[in-house]
Subunit: 100 residues, 2 copies
């Protein structure tokens, strides 16, 4: 785990709707349209949030064919457990270049 991964993770979790998405997907995996209805959010906006979470490595999507023959994209939470404290930040800070 380096500072770039961690800042990406923090950035992903810095928006309430993304916290809520994480909660919804941790309860159970859901496909995109289902999640959009559940979140009461437009799909384009949901895609933007999902992309951030996926780039941070804490959710993953996979395609499945439903019984009725439709292609569905299911998202689920990737497990993680990080102890966040100043000591960790100090260690990660060592590798940050002068320009940031």
């Amino acid at each position: 785990m380096d500072y770039a991964e961690l800042t990406k993770l923090f950035d992903a979790l810095s928006h309430p709707m993304r916290i809520k998405i994480m909660g919804a997907l941790y309860e159970q995996r859901r496909y995109v349209s289902e999640l959009a209805k559940y979140m009461n959010m437009s799909r384009p906006l949901l895609y933007m949030h999902l992309r951030k979470l996926e780039e941070a490595g804490i959710v993953a999507g996979s395609y499945e064919i439903s019984n009725s023959g439709k292609s569905m994209k299911y998202y689920e939470v990737i497990p993680f457990d990080i102890c966040l404290n100043p000591e960790l930040l100090k260690e990660l800070a060592k590798n940050i270049p002068p320009q940031g």
Copy 2:
């Protein structure tokens, strides 16, 4: 700890320079100009970053008069330790209103 505090914390830690500031202040407390030189950063920009960290509650500033009579603002790290995992996010998500 509620979701609003946590998103503020994550937002504060979502920038490499702020991770670096945390590292620098955890090593030792520093006054603003000193920190700006250490970080090789302009003071106005540093103030912006410090404000975010302060609003997140993980640094605090206090004024002191130096031996030479000048007013110095020292910043230091406020200790914290948070276990970050999907379970925590699920619990916090319960209190997020529909609009986010």
